[in-house]
Symmetry: C2
């Protein structure tokens, strides 16, 4: 179980960060990422923010490498005997909030944990995934997103897509609203089998696959025009994103529990958000279709 | 300890709700509160929302009367042996988000809990308080706010203002930002001594005192003109309010834990909010004065 290579993971996350930033810049035509290299106690990171782009209202592409002597309970889904143990972790987080309400918000997170457990044995695991949050849904976009997810998983096991798709649906569920955050994707955690190189390969495929999943959707929808109505619906729906991230997201709560750099942790926040008391879309409106046709969990590609 | 009267408390909260709504409507000139009477399982409430008023962008004035058989751990600051016990609670919550960035946001909460403890003995307590969140501070406003708080406390004990002012400063502290939410006020919890009528009288004084504390500030600042700059700062600062309410506020988390009516629980959310990555005010600007002159905890009236 000890054949891990932390440097390989760090290096992959760093290259992936460059690749994703380059791709987003290319799509956004001349916009730039502001880069903040930060360090705090035993932690360091590289937070890159694009704001007020032509396509992207805000994009956050961040990596970090953190250590501590008391693993917060949000870091793992099951290994509760790892709590209060020495740990080191590295991760990449990407959140893209497009300006155009017809382009969905997307999110990628990948993370690698190393922990000395209570018997002082070294354990490692990978976790992460990607998920999509549309405002106005298009069936072909959602099918493409899930087909890409399925293609990523296929070489690693026949049932993997089904398993990680369900995990994603379960994780990104806004309990207090009884409503999924978006249309899902992949989510995995505490994965260390069969061996480091296998799980690392899978993690790399998820990272590389994120751009393949998202870019075609951005390119298809970026020329759509929108009015105040669509913008308003987007800002309203973004409040659900904030509620999920602050009330439920283990990544955000882990960051706060581990006393990380707050501006990096909350760089996922949308730039502008609206809350409307007890608002509901008109029945059969374009806005209501999100709730009736897209948010309910379903098999988008008939393979799960 | 059993001489409580739940009906008296319900009735006071209901009258206070009417009084506060009437006062806000009067100030706001022709605006109206939309009233939602709701019920859910063993809970009921009366949520009143004013939106897009002339002065108030959003005001939420709500009462509720809830029961359950498993008291969430956020309901009390200390009585952890009350958990998983039968309870009934009633409360009033007021949050006012003015349009004008020169008028502070204000908040009042009062609550009364009845619980059968693990020995099946009936316990009761009051909690609550009020606090103020300015965007642009005025010393005379903050002094007036705290003087009113001190006058409310004085008949009930010489050290009460000092104690509840400190409790408020401690409670409304945004740990992950290392920053107070506003300039404080009063906060108390788990209070049941010396007897019901004494604590109820104090609670009534806090409720009646809220309008006396807030109204003069609204009237003093409502004619101030503002530009995009002040509005932008207000929207940015409102993100701190959201972070506090979703990450730290026991009332919000209690509401969610007790599976209350989500639209009422989150009626405290500001109508429109901005997050800006790593933004800081220019040194010595009007905006920076909030951080240097108002947010740091201090003795505003030389009496604590």
């Amino acid at each position: 179980m000890n054949e891990y290579n932390f440097q390989l993971v760090l290096s992959f996350f760093s290259k992936l960060q460059n690749k994703i930033c380059d791709t987003l810049i290319q799509v956004d035509n001349h916009s730039v990422f502001k880069k903040d290299i930060w360090s705090k106690k035993n932690c360091q990171g590289d937070t890159r923010i694009l704001k007020n782009g032509k396509i992207f209202e805000k994009a956050s592409v961040s990596t970090s490498d953190i250590s501590g002597n008391s693993l917060p309970n949000t870091s793992t889904n099951k290994n509760k005997n790892f709590l209060n143990c020495l740990y080191r972790a590295t991760g990449i987080s990407v959140i893209v909030h497009p300006k155009n309400p017809y382009i969905p918000t997307s999110h990628l997170n990948l993370r690698f944990f190393l922990v000395y457990d209570s018997q002082n044995l070294l354990k490692w695991w990978f976790g992460g995934g990607f998920d999509l949050t549309p405002y106005y849904g298009f069936t072909e976009d959602v099918v493409h997103w899930h087909q890409t997810a399925e293609q990523i998983c296929r070489p690693f096991g026949v049932d993997l897509y089904k398993k990680y798709k369900k995990w994603c649906d379960d994780y990104f569920f806004i309990k207090h609203r009884n409503e999924p955050r978006g249309i899902g994707g992949l989510f995995f955690d505490d994965v260390n089998k069969p061996n480091f190189h296998h799980v690392f390969s899978f993690t790399k495929s998820v990272g590389d696959g994120y751009i393949k999943a998202y870019l075609p959707i951005v390119n298809l929808r970026k020329s759509y025009t929108w009015s105040k109505r669509e913008r308003d619906f987007q800002l309203y729906r973004r409040s659900r994103y904030v509620e999920f991230n602050l009330l439920l997201d283990r990544g955000t709560i882990f960051g706060i529990q581990s006393q990380g750099r707050i501006e990096s942790i909350l760089s996922s926040m949308p730039p502008i958000v609206k809350w409307k008391y007890n608002w509901k879309p008109r029945p059969k409106s374009q806005e209501s279709k999100l709730y009736t046709d897209f948010l309910p969990v379903k098999n988008w590609i008939n393979k799960n």
